[in-house]
């Protein structure tokens, strides 16, 4: 079974995420360190059987290439004797990241405008979460990390399973929707409690992504690195 992540974040988003999380200087990215982190995430994605699209591998190759160029001494002895400084191999990537960030900011602006427009006339905005308390939206990478931990925990405690029943996404979706009828919010890790097999875990994760895609649930954190929570969106449930 393979998970497809089209429609979520891409490789540039992951790099920006790493740079921000570690408060790195974008003009002087420690490329070896970032490459290592990037590859770690790719490995997590592979472990989780996520279909790693071509662009992720292209970026990995680019990073490794830059890393190797950084290891070489700068070509100061240019045959033509030009006094030109050799170009920083990271330059193009930095430019691409900044360009990408610009559009992310523009998207944020559109988001804010949409929010205001939703508060106008008779179409008010979506769910003020928990009485307008500040919350943090969860990125795909937080989600992957959290899921990776769930799987690790599962593998650590489980012994050999017996003939486990297969479960389909449809079944799981129905089950999660029932669960969300009873609880308004759930903690991410508890979502996966009682899963009898790894296959169940993955199907649950897929079902959760589907619910996110359908805007039936929101994922949020109360503060950075805290537990990921799942909240039923107020607009959902009525159609079910």
């Amino acid at each position: 079974m393979t998970i497809h992540l089209e429609g979520f974040e891409g490789p540039l988003d992951l790099l920006l995420h790493l740079i921000k999380r570690e408060e790195l200087d974008i003009w002087n990215i420690p490329i070896a360190h970032v490459t290592e982190q990037y590859l770690d995430y790719l490995q997590i994605m592979r472990d989780l059987n996520i279909n790693v699209a071509g662009e992720w591998l292209v970026m990995a190759a680019t990073l490794i290439y830059i890393k190797s160029r950084m290891l070489l001494p700068p070509d100061t002895v240019q045959e033509t004797g030009q006094e030109e400084e050799s170009e920083d191999p990271r330059k193009e990537l930095v430019y691409q990241l900044l360009e990408h960030q610009k559009f992310k900011n523009a998207a944020q602006m559109l988001y804010t405008r949409e929010e205001v427009e939703n508060a106008v006339w008779n179409s008010p905005p979506m769910d003020a979460l928990e009485d307008g308390k500040e919350v943090i939206a969860v990125t795909l990478f937080d989600l992957l990390k959290a899921f990776h931990e769930v799987v690790k925990r599962f593998e650590a405690q489980s012994s050999i399973g017996f003939d486990q029943e297969e479960v389909t996404i449809e079944q799981k979706l129905a089950e999660l929707r029932r669960l969300l009828m009873v609880h308004d919010t759930l903690v991410f890790s508890s979502f996966f409690a009682r899963a009898p097999s790894k296959q169940h875990l993955i199907v649950t994760f897929l079902a959760l992504l589907e619910l996110v895609r359908l805007h039936e649930v929101f994922l949020y954190q109360k503060k950075a690195f805290s537990e990921i929570r799942i909240m039923r969106s107020k607009s959902a449930g009525k159609t079910a």
Binding site: E6, H100, K102, N105
Partner: protein
């Protein structure tokens, strides 16, 4: 007709209209009045109406005038209406839309180059919602389809026209701050 007479009629039309009311449409109703006069009446109406600081305001959106509630009252309006809020766009869709808005007319390949990932799904969703439209084909090999934003885009985001969007350079400054 005097401007003073025109004003309340325009107010009634804007109130009753579903879409932003444009100058052209009003000219059809008042063929004997000049564009200038209608526009002056419109602007005066908006100014006076909005100076009242009531629960409603008249705004310029997508090249026309529209009357809406003021966003600051949304909590109470929502409490009363008990309505379901509309589905919002995903971040992937918003990012794709931002690229289209600033780089239009733009091809799918150009969007891919900026976002660093495939954007087919997001673009289809935007086309479905009519926020993005096909504007033509690029005269290069393969004649790829060009995309641009629609009038619905302006309405959806409450924009008078595209020039009301902040410039990309302003975002560049914010982007520089992430370092």
């Amino acid at each position: 007709m005097e401007i003073e007479e025109l004003q309340p009629i325009l107010e009634a039309i804007i109130y009753a209209a579903d879409d932003p009311v444009g100058l052209e449409q009003l000219k059809e109703i008042f063929p004997d009045e000049s564009y200038d006069k209608i526009e002056t009446a419109l602007r005066r109406l908006a100014e006076e109406f909005n100076a009242r600081l009531g629960g409603m305001w008249i705004r310029e959106i997508a090249g026309g005038f529209r009357m809406t509630t003021r966003p600051e009252h949304h909590e109470y309006v929502r409490a009363y209406l008990k309505t379901k809020p509309g589905a919002k766009l995903s971040m992937a869709a918003l990012e794709t839309l931002a690229v289209v808005a600033y780089k239009q007319p733009v091809t799918l390949a150009e969007i891919l180059a900026i976002r660093g990932k495939k954007s087919t799904t997001a673009l289809h969703r935007l086309l479905e919602k009519r926020l993005v439209v096909i504007t033509g084909r690029k005269p290069v090999v393969g004649r790829p389809i060009l995309y641009g934003t629609s009038k619905d885009f302006l309405v959806h985001f409450g924009l008078k026209d595209l020039s009301e969007l902040p410039t990309l350079e302003e975002f560049a400054q914010i982007a520089g701050e992430i370092s």
